[in-house]
Structures are given as structure tokens and as C-alpha cells.
Amino acid sequence: MKHLKIIFPVLLLIMTLSSCNSNKSDQASDDIAVYQCPMKCEGEKTYPEAGSCPVCKMDLQPMETENSKELSDQDISEESIFNLTSKWHTEEGNEIQLEDLKGKTLVMVMIYTSCKAACPRLVADMRNIEAQIPEANLDDLRFVLVSIDPKIDTPERLKAFAKENMMDGEQWTFLQGTESSVQEFANVLAVKYKKISPIDFSHSNIISVFNSQGELIHQQEGLGVDNKETVEAILQLTQGQS
């Protein structure tokens, strides 16, 4: 039993180490390999060369350094939003997970369709960004508008909103979640929102850019701000792919 207790976590650890390229280490830029006791007997203490742990005598294991570029298409990193497994409905009525959007650069914003104040301007900001992207890059790009108000914003309503705002093209996606999935998603984006009346929400105006692996690359905060950096981030990401 005692052996099992040790063997099992070690196996798990080996599996996690070998199955993904991501790692706690922030020393990615260093080229020197770093070794650590697999049991972490001395906490986060690391050694510059291979050897055995002075406490449990196990062989020290090299700590892998992070390099997201090496990730294959199958793997997602720890920071990827594709780790969220909640289900969403698109404006076309399809059920998807965020991971289904993998492979495209994502530009995401949270809005609600009955909003009269900031959302039309946020939506305009999104269209503004889109207008500055050359057509060739649009294939690798998705603009995703996530509803803060999943009760009111049904797929039908989102579809109508898309048509009304001329955002019905292939590159636009609208998502309806549930109250808890929206909350979780907002927390991943660091978006704040509060229901202030039955039909109105107060919310942060943040546009987020994710790479094709779902990692957050850039956030633009505020309304009608200069979106040069956002556009640049998108161009860089989409050019890298094609």
C-alpha cells in the first residue's frame, strides 16, 4: 500500500511531464537545463546538474522549459481557453465547445444585444478592427461575440442581431452560454459585469485577441480607443499561419 502511494503519483507526474510541453518553470529563456526532485522534497528547489535528491534519493529529473511554438495541433497549453469545457450555442443553433474554434486566431468580446449604451460602440470597434484586416487574413480569423445575457440572447436573437449589424459573415460567431459558463468565461478574460436591472448590464469594455491555440495575446480596454496594437497583434498572428 505504501509503495502504491508513492508509485502512483510518480506515474502521474511522469505522464503529465511527458504528455504536455507546458511547465511551471518561468526560466524558459535560460538555455541551461534545470533539475528538480520529482517528489519535490525540498519544495521548488532546483539543481543545475543531474544527480539524486538528498532527501528521498530519487534521481533528479530535468525540468522542461516552455515553448508554445513546439506544441503540436493536438495539445493545448495550460493557459489556453480551450481548457474550458463548457458548451455554447452559436447563432446558427449549433452546440460547440470553445475548443472547436481551435486553429483560428480569435478576437473576442462580451456584449448583450439589448444594450443601448456601450455595446453598439464595442461592436463598432470590432467592425473597425475587421475593416483593417486584409481579406487574405480573414480566413484564419474568427470574431467571437459572447453574450453576457444568456437568458435573453437566444441563438435566434443573436442571429437577428448579426444580420442587423451586418456581421453575418463566416468570420463572425456569436455564442450563448449559461449563467455559470458566462461567469467563468468572463473571469478568464478578466471581464467584469453586473446586472443592474432586468434588461441592463454594466460591464467592462475589453476586446481580447487569442492565438490559434487559445492563448491570450492582447487585450484592448476601453471604448473607441486606438486599436492599432490590436490590429497589429491580429496581423502578426494571422500572417504567421498562412
Partner: protein, 259 residues
């Protein structure tokens, strides 16, 4: 025979309290309407009846949780859900550092971890409104916010260092029978991200009308309640993956049956 069965039941009950101390350790909170510091349009909010944990979740309890759900262990938690300081007062995945007490409140936990913990027990995190509702009570009154002594006590705690290392249950229990809402650690709330102040004074001076849609309608009702203001400011500055030294949590449960 009957007495045997009876004693068995008693035994089970007693035993269960040891096993599931958390499910037992809840008290009934009778809902009501009240005026929070930051409400909807600065009006009263309604809180339904619910049950709340008497104590914050302890290190010991969190250890049981990570044993059962390895994905929340220190080395396995993914970065999307917790920053680097997650459980940084733990020696390894399953052990606390020697300086830490198992009966201290668990801290260095992210919102995602706290939420998962409560959900695994069929509970949830309290909303800001629920938490503030219970927290405005003192030992004798349900709404003690008007008493000068209430504010003084809380503020003196805010000045006391390292209170997160204390044990649970040492502050006086309030009229609901809940301990440690003040005096131990800050606590996560389910909708902490509904606090629309940035917590950064430079940003807060102008109304933030560009950062938040509709921010003008979200105003404080009682600027004298400085302690509550600090809590809201802290919530406003948090991000869900933050794990902090003095931030723990407790769970609540909805009450289905009508009273």
C-alpha cells in the same frame, strides 16, 4: 434490538460529522432585503434563504479535496485556473509546510479552485450580496452597520498583520452562528467580478465611463462604511486566477424547501 439500532444511528450520525464536517457545519440564514454598499441602482437587494458554512474552509479540508481531485493539486493545476502562487504555503501536492496549521483557513487558492471545491460538495460560493448580508451582523444584531463598534472592530482587524495564520473559530460568532467573516481572511465570492470599480484610484477618479458600460448607475450608498468599501475595492481588483496569502473562502448552499 431497538436500542441497538438506535445507537447505531447515533453512531452513524456522530461518525458522519467527523467525515463530512462541512455538510454538517452549516447554519440557516434567513433571507431578507437590505441595502448593500454597492447594489443595483443603489437600491435594496433581496437575499433568499440559504445555508452558510460556519467556518471558512481549512487547510485540512482542502487537503482532502486535492487528494480526491488531483487536478487541483499544486503541481497539476493548469495556469488558466491558478497563478504561480497557488498553494505556495504547501510543501508538495499533498502536504502543508511545517509552519502551517491544518486548522488555519486555506489561502493561496484561486476562484476557480474555490468554486470547484464547493461544487464538489453540492454547494457553491456565496454571492457578494449574500456574503455582505451575513457579514453585516455582529454578535447580537443582524444589521450592525450603524454601530460604531462594529466598524471599529473590523477596521482594527484590517490593520492586524498575519491574521491568516490564526485558527478558525476564534473570533466571536455572529447572530447567525457564523464565525470568522471578519478577523481571519478575505473570502472569495461567486460574482466578485460584478464589482465595477477598478481598485486603482488613478482609474477611479473619472467615472470610468469608457471602461464600464453604465458605470454611472453603480454608486456607493454609504460612504461611511469604509470597511465594506475596502472589501469591494479588493474584490474589484481581483482576477479569478489570483491566489493570495490572505484570501480564502467558504461555501453556501441553496435551500430548496419553502419555510
Amino acid at each position: 434490538m431497538k436500542t441497538k439500532a438506535f445507537s447505531l444511528i447515533i453512531f452513524c450520525c456522530v461518525f458522519q460529522t467527523f467525515l463530512f464536517a462541512q455538510t454538517e457545519g452549516m447554519v440557516y440564514i434567513e433571507g431578507s432585503r437590505y441595502l448593500p454598499l454597492y447594489g443595483r441602482d443603489s437600491t435594496v437587494v433581496e437575499v433568499n434563504d440559504f445555508k452558510m458554512d460556519v467556518y471558512p474552509v481549512t487547510n485540512k479540508e482542502f487537503k482532502q479535496f486535492v487528494e480526491k481531485f488531483p487536478k487541483w493539486q499544486k503541481s497539476k493545476v493548469i495556469k488558466l485556473f491558478a497563478d504561480d502562487s497557488y498553494l505556495s504555503n504547501w510543501k508538495n501536492d499533498l502536504e502543508l509546510k511545517d509552519t502551517e496549521n491544518p486548522d488555519s483557513p486555506v489561502t493561496y487558492v484561486s476562484w476557480f479552485a474555490a468554486k470547484a471545491y464547493c461544487e464538489c460538495q453540492g454547494k457553491r460560493l456565496p454571492t457578494v450580496d449574500e456574503w455582505e448580508y451575513v457579514a453585516m451582523a455582529d454578535e447580537t444584531t443582524k444589521d450592525a452597520r450603524v454601530k460604531p463598534s462594529y466598524n471599529e472592530k473590523i477596521l482594527s482587524w484590517y490593520e492586524a498583520p498575519r491574521s491568516n495564520e490564526n485558527l478558525i473559530g476564534q473570533t466571536p460568532k455572529n447572530i447567525w452562528g457564523v464565525y470568522d467573516l471578519h478577523g481571519l481572511v478575505w473570502e472569495w465570492t461567486l460574482d466578485f467580478n460584478s464589482v465595477l470599480i477598478t481598485g486603482e484610484s488613478r482609474k477611479d477618479v473619472d467615472k470610468d465611463s469608457n471602461l464600464f458600460c453604465g458605470s454611472a448607475s453603480v454608486n456607493a450608498t454609504d460612504l461611511m462604511n469604509y470597511a465594506a468599501f475596502m472589501r469591494y475595492a479588493i474584490r474589484g481588483s481581483l482576477k479569478a486566477k489570483y491566489a493570495m496569502k490572505n484570501l480564502g473562502f467558504r461555501c453556501v448552499q441553496d435551500v430548496n424547501e419553502k419555510k
